[in-house]
């Protein structure tokens, strides 16, 4: 008996820790993939709590839903997001919690981000990445040295179009900044490089100009400006092994310094205070008198198959129609796949058409 109770307590503590730490990691890590995995871990912890409450079926359902569902969600997230591996963010200034949950993330090389293949440099593919690695290395070396390496960086980093335009500005900037803060002096160049390899040229130039001005103004005295902050981050934890600060910088403005963040924390704390308060107060609401039944799956089944049968069947039919519609919309031929992926398709180019629909082929 004693042993059983101890085991229960240990299991409860473990599952609770898993749940809470998973949630914390989910909201603080820099990598979206990790974020998804942490969310999954958190839900699995909740499932463990269900099982401790002897609701096995519910717990297992939860695990099943969230392993499969979360993996599919992660897949879509990876396909559609710009920086799923957190490589851009990895070199940024982070709070200790964020640093803890983002440990071991590798900052990203420029070429790879462009290729859309996340932060992957395969063993076979590594020859393609070499120059970039080189450039990145010089870049990080440059932080310590000064002007000369900046030139070297310019050359090694063959960004023709835009960075040529950017060059005069950069030089001017550098001349200005030579006396003091070298780090800030690199910013405009970095912006140019990024935006070039990125998407939008026109906007890039404008943005570059603005940031220029900003850097000038803020470099000396305002540590709160985004870029400045970021540079501090890099200087501080050099153990993180970040080659490319510029990536982080670019993203700074977009997502990292969300003004709502302190609010989110405040709201979270307020909610938990309310929850704990309710737990202590235990108001007598009408719901509390409802009888708790351990046989709830059976009751739900009875309700679905008895009282709510028609609604249940109707919803089932609607979902089935939706599935058929989705399959119909996705029929091959309407969306030819991209050339690059063709190489990865294993079987031959003309798949044997499957018998059900003879008119179908691709």
């Amino acid at each position: 008996m004693m042993l059983g109770e101890t085991a229960q307590w240990v299991a409860f503590i473990l599952f609770t820790l898993l749940t809470v730490l998973g949630a914390l990691g989910m909201s603080t890590t820099m990598s979206m993939f990790r974020s998804g995995i942490f969310l999954m871990a958190s839900f699995i912890g909740v499932a463990g709590l269900f099982i401790l409450l002897s609701a096995d079926l519910l717990g297992l359902l939860q695990i099943m839903m969230y392993i499969g569902g979360m993996l599919v969600m992660i897949l879509f997230m990876l396909l559609f997001s710009m920086d799923p591996g957190g490589a851009m963010m990895a070199g940024m200034d982070m709070s200790p919690v964020e640093r803890l949950f983002s440990r071991g993330l590798k900052p990203q090389d420029k070429g790879e981000e462009h290729s859309g293949q996340d932060d992957m440099a395969g063993e076979e593919d590594s020859d393609g990445e070499k120059p970039h690695d080189h450039a990145a290395m010089q870049h990080s070396g440059m932080k310590i040295d000064g002007e000369h390496d900046h030139h070297a960086m310019h050359n090694s980093d063959d960004q023709e179009g835009l960075s040529e335009q950017a060059q005069p500005q950069s030089h001017g900037e550098m001349a200005d900044m030579d006396m003091g803060d070298e780090d800030a002096a690199h910013k405009p160049h970095d912006y140019a490089a990024i935006n070039h390899s990125g998407m939008n040229h026109g906007a890039a130039e404008q943005q570059m100009g603005e940031n220029h001005a900003m850097t000038h103004g803020d470099a000396g005295n305002s540590p709160t400006s985004g870029e400045k902050d970021c540079e501090h981050g890099q200087m501080d934890h050099s153990s993180m092994d970040h080659g490319d600060m510029d990536m982080g910088n670019m993203d700074m403005d977009m997502s990292m310094v969300t003004p709502a963040r302190p609010w989110a924390a405040a709201i979270g704390i307020a909610f938990s205070a309310v929850l704990v308060g309710l737990l202590l107060w235990r108001p007598t609401w009408p719901v509390t008198s409802a009888a708790f039944s351990t046989d709830s799956p059976r009751e739900i089944g009875m309700l679905l198959m008895g009282k709510y049968m028609m609604a249940f069947e109707g919803v089932g039919l609607l979902i089935l129609l939706g599935i058929f519609g989705a399959v119909f919309l996705q029929r091959p031929g309407s969306h030819p796949s991209d050339q690059g992926r063709e190489a990865y398709v294993t079987a031959d180019k003309n798949p044997v058409s499957i018998e059900l629909e003879p008119e179908d082929e691709s």
Binding site: I37, I67, L71, L75, G104, K106, M120, G122, V352
Partner: protein, 284 residues
């Protein structure tokens, strides 16, 4: 479990010359990856082996010879086998190489394609047994095996089981076109664990097939565990042999096979089984 894995490994090597994807892993040397994620990459094989081992707990090898006779055993089995896919995801992404990530994408797509027909293949047997407990399912087949009553469900289980085990026609995520997928980037103890996990995966899937459709441990003369193992390996041999008869399918083809053939077939099987139960055929 260990014996089962060893037998599976041997049988697969004997039967299929170059297909078992994990067969060529090098155990003696570890592979060092420059872009690997230090936490997720080793977590993959651990998660996968955990799933397989825990799944083996509900397989009955005799009337009392079972790790844990859960009331919801079959459902539990489906759930914990998913940890293998999670392991692949962790390992594939964590390896941080192009082919590994690609193979992770594909394995997720494969999960989407097999999971519904697999569930339908279970549902047929579960409806007849009127229980989720694995021992009850076997007991329900005392008179006649479910393979006789629902051959369609059995075929469905063969196909989806192969898909779930990443064996012959459905091994695209691990194929040589992707450089062996994520498996190419493991070595040392991780390779050993992946080997055990993938062989064990095939073993538990065949054992579950034997439980669902071949009457588990039931049989004359021989002791129950022997029957169970015999049926398991017979089913495994059948699956591997049949799988070798077909051309390997790409992930897209698997998805289309699943949606166009397997799911309708599974629904049909459920309908037929419902009719049989209404007609009074099968265990009472």
């Amino acid at each position: 479990m260990v014996v089962g894995v060893a037998f599976t490994f041997w049988l697969e090597r004997a039967l299929t010359l170059a297909v078992g994807a994990a067969q060529s892993l090098k155990l003696s040397e570890d592979v060092v990856l420059t872009h690997a994620d230090r936490w997720m990459y080793p977590a993959g094989p651990i998660s996968a082996l955990f799933g397989v081992t825990v799944a083996a707990a509900v397989l009955p090898f005799g009337p009392r010879l079972i790790g844990a006779d859960l009331g919801i055993g079959a459902f539990y089995f489906i759930v914990v086998v998913d940890f293998v896919v999670l392991g692949v995801a962790l390992s594939g992404w964590g390896a941080g190489t192009r082919n590994a990530v690609e193979s992770f994408y594909r394995i997720t797509a494969q999960l989407v394609s097999y999971v519904i027909p697999l569930g339908l293949a279970y549902v047929g047997a579960l409806m007849m047994a009127a229980s989720l407990s694995t021992t009850q399912i076997v007991e329900a087949q005392r008179d006649v095996w479910f393979i006789v009553l629902q051959p369609l469900g059995f075929i469905l289980y063969l196909v989806t089981g192969l898909m779930q085990a990443y064996r012959a026609p459905f091994y695209e995520p691990l194929s040589e076109h992707l450089g062996g997928g994520f498996l190419n980037f493991v070595g040392g103890w991780k390779a050993l664990m992946w080997r055990a996990a993938l062989a064990g995966l095939l073993f538990v899937i065949s054992a579950m097939g034997a439980v669902l459709y071949l009457g588990g441990w039931l049989g004359p003369w021989l002791p129950p565990p022997v029957w169970m193992l015999l049926k398991t390996f017979a089913l495994m041999t059948l699956m591997l042999w049949l799988g070798r008869r077909f051309k390997p399918l790409s992930t897209a083809q698997m998805l289309s096979l699943s949606w166009r053939i397997l799911i309708p077939a599974g629904l049909l099987n459920v309908l037929v089984v419902g009719g049989l139960i209404l007609a009074g055929v099968g265990p009472q």
